[in-house]
């Protein structure tokens, strides 16, 4: 399955083109009004572009203003499911019947579609809530049910529109893990604001700003070394790759970084990445002695103001400190320093 998208929506000023390979998850990253939702609406068949061509698996879904005849496949006939910020579970149906809705609409028998729904509820870990009404679910549970419902429809392409934006931060890590598992082999477009979502869920990132693509590439590359202003703002995450040895990340250079492994726990020798935001880094001139924290010796390459703070950059990492601290440390490009990060601030994920 290959997804090819190319469309212009003039009154929203959105004009972009991209492809997705079979089984690939692509994150669309961008500020509000950048055109992400327009891409989803055109793909789902809810909006006709002024000019464009969208095909899935060789089948044209939308064609307009091309040499071929104009064509618009209605939303229900595209095999494209959409999961929005809000779960939007049908309030008059039980959780089980919500999930069975897709298979049932496709013409499966009542018992067959319920069995499939049961399977999907188990997959997202809420099989015990099958008989509840959507009003009796928490936000996280409802979104899990919505994920199960979208997957049960057996879409060739799954569209996720900020699936975790409306959730309590306490439940996002667990849902992210679930999504990571169920999205693994699927063709997915994920719209998000969150660099960590893009990093962990997507193979590739496309950054949109002002209706056009400003940056794209491998998730970890784009997010580690952002080339657009927007990516730099939300991303600029520090990522240290290595292998999982003795409950810590061992880098190729022989450095040990201790962190918080996510679920599932990595196994000894697994390739992993340690992720932490620049704001988690404190900067010292001397190595703090006898502390359980990670201290990485670095050479500073440049300093730049960043939203009221000072961003201290090295070749690989960045830290964010107050202007006062930067002045007291008397930092300058070329100076040696220690980046100190608490182990609890570092997330470790298998790659």
């Amino acid at each position: 399955m290959t997804f090819e998208y190319e469309a212009t929506v003039a009154d929203r000023g959105v004009d972009l083109a991209f492809d997705i390979a079979p089984g690939e998850t692509v994150a669309l990253l961008g500020p509000n009004g950048a055109g992400k939702s327009t891409v989803l609406a055109v793909t789902a068949g809810l909006l006709r572009p002024d000019v464009g061509r969208v095909t899935l698996d060789g089948r044209p879904l939308t064609v307009r203003g091309h040499r071929e005849r104009d064509l618009h496949v209605p939303p229900h006939d595209r095999q494209v499911s959409l999961l929005a910020q809000e779960p939007l579970l049908f309030p008059h149906l039980s959780v089980l019947d919500n999930v069975a809705f897709g298979p049932r609409s496709r013409g499966d028998s009542r018992s067959g579609s319920r069995a499939a729904a049961d399977q999907w509820l188990r997959e997202v870990g809420i099989e015990e809530l099958a008989d509840r009404r959507p009003a009796q679910l928490s936000g996280g549970q409802a979104q899990r049910a919505a994920v199960a419902r979208a997957l049960a429809a057996d879409p060739k392409l799954l569209l996720l529109d900020e699936p975790m934006a409306a959730l309590d931060v306490a439940v996002t890590p667990a849902l992210r893990q679930t999504l990571r598992r169920v999205l693994a082999e699927r063709t997915v477009v994920l719209v998000t604001h969150d660099a960590l979502d893009a990093l962990l869920l997507a193979d590739r990132v496309i950054v949109i700003d002002g209706g056009e693509i400003v940056d794209q590439g491998d998730s970890s590359e784009v997010l580690a070394r952002p080339r657009s202003r927007f990516t730099a703002q939300i991303a600029g995450l520090n990522m240290i790759p290595g292998t999982w040895r003795d409950h810590a990340v061992l880098t190729a250079a022989g450095m040990r970084v201790e962190g918080h492994p996510g679920d599932p726990q990595p196994h000894e020798g697994d390739p992993v990445v340690a992720v932490f935001p620049p704001s988690a880094v404190s900067v010292f001139l001397d190595a703090p002695g006898g502390s359980p924290r990670n201290a990485l010796e670095v050479t500073i390459t440049h300093l730049e103001p960043h939203g009221g703070q000072i961003r201290v950059r090295t070749a690989e990492l960045s830290a964010e400190i107050t202007a006062q601290a930067a002045a007291e440390l008397d930092l300058a490009p070329g100076s040696r320093a220690f980046f100190v990060i608490k182990a609890t601030e570092i997330a470790v994920y298998g790659t």
Binding site: A44, L46, P74, P75, H76, D77, R78, Q79, V80, S81, L82, A84, E86, L88, F90, P91, H92, F101, G102, S105, R106, R149, A150, A153, L159
Partner: protein, 263 residues
């Protein structure tokens, strides 16, 4: 300790006209209850003419409510979910019976379905005579009651929005499935209160019915027509029958409110 919100923007003097208005609406109802000849109540309701009128009213109002649902639901959906040129004008015209004097509606129906009406000859050829038949009663009631159902349901459809319908479509449900499994269940309370209002309006229909259908006992003489006739000959019976309609109206308001509340 429970807090009590302070009343702002309601001057004290406004209560006087407000209470007077409420009294104006409620006093006549009290009058009917007071004037009802309770000792003869069931005898009066039991007369053959009254029975026939009551049954005819229930039968025709039920039928016209079903017709309102059959045609009003599609109309409401088209008005709420599509847009086309002249839609605003069409909506106003379709809702015209709400403000049109019922007698005028009756005349209009007569010139449409009557013997020399627009469609009358067509019906005549088919051997159907509409005017002055029970069918005419149903048509008159449907004509005046339909807008109530359309207005109520269109509002419910707009409030419900299209979010759920969009989700259903992306899950692979075709338009008919979406309508049946998502749209209708979501607006069911609005549909119920619209249907109850339409039934009430049908039950009370007088002007269009007497103009278009006449007043034949057992055929076209519905309860309101019977009450109007009795008023001259047997005022007590008229009051007793009126009370029946008052009770029905009170029940209807209760139902309609319940529908709105659960919306």
């Amino acid at each position: 300790m429970t807090g009590q919100p302070v009343r702002v923007g309601v001057p004290t003097w406004i209560f006087f006209p407000a209470v007077a208005g409420a009294a104006f609406v409620l006093l006549p109802l009290v009058a009917i209850v007071l004037r009802t000849p309770w000792s003869r109540f069931f005898d009066l309701l039991g007369s053959q003419a009254s029975q026939e009128a009551l049954l005819l009213s229930l039968r025709t109002s039920g039928t016209s409510t079903l017709l309102c649902i059959a045609f009003g639901v599609p109309m409401a959906l088209v008005l709420a979910r599509t847009s086309f040129r002249g839609q605003g004008i069409l909506r106003s015209l379709v809702l015209l019976p709400l403000v049109l004097p019922p007698v005028v509606g009756g005349i209009a129906l007569l010139y449409t379905f009557g013997r020399r009406g627009l469609l009358g000859e067509t019906f005549e050829v088919l051997g159907i005579q509409v005017a002055f038949s029970t069918t005419a009663v149903v048509l008159a009631q449907t004509f005046v009651a339909m807008p109530f159902l359309v207005v109520s349901l269109e509002g419910a459809l707009r409030t419900a929005g299209q979010k759920y319908e969009v989700v259903a479509a992306t899950l692979g449900a075709g338009p008919t499935t979406v309508f049946r499994r998502v749209t209708l269940p979501l607006v069911l309370p609005g549909l119920a209160s619209g249907a109850v209002l339409a039934f009430a309006r049908s039950l009370g229909e007088f002007g269009a019915t007497i103009t278009f259908a006449g007043s034949l006992q057992g055929v076209t003489r519905t309860l309101p027509l019977e009450i109007y006739l009795l008023r001259e000959t047997d005022a007590q019976a008229a009051v007793a029958l009126s009370l029946v309609l008052v009770v029905v109206a009170v029940l209807v308001i209760g139902f309609a409110r319940q529908g709105k509340a659960s919306l």
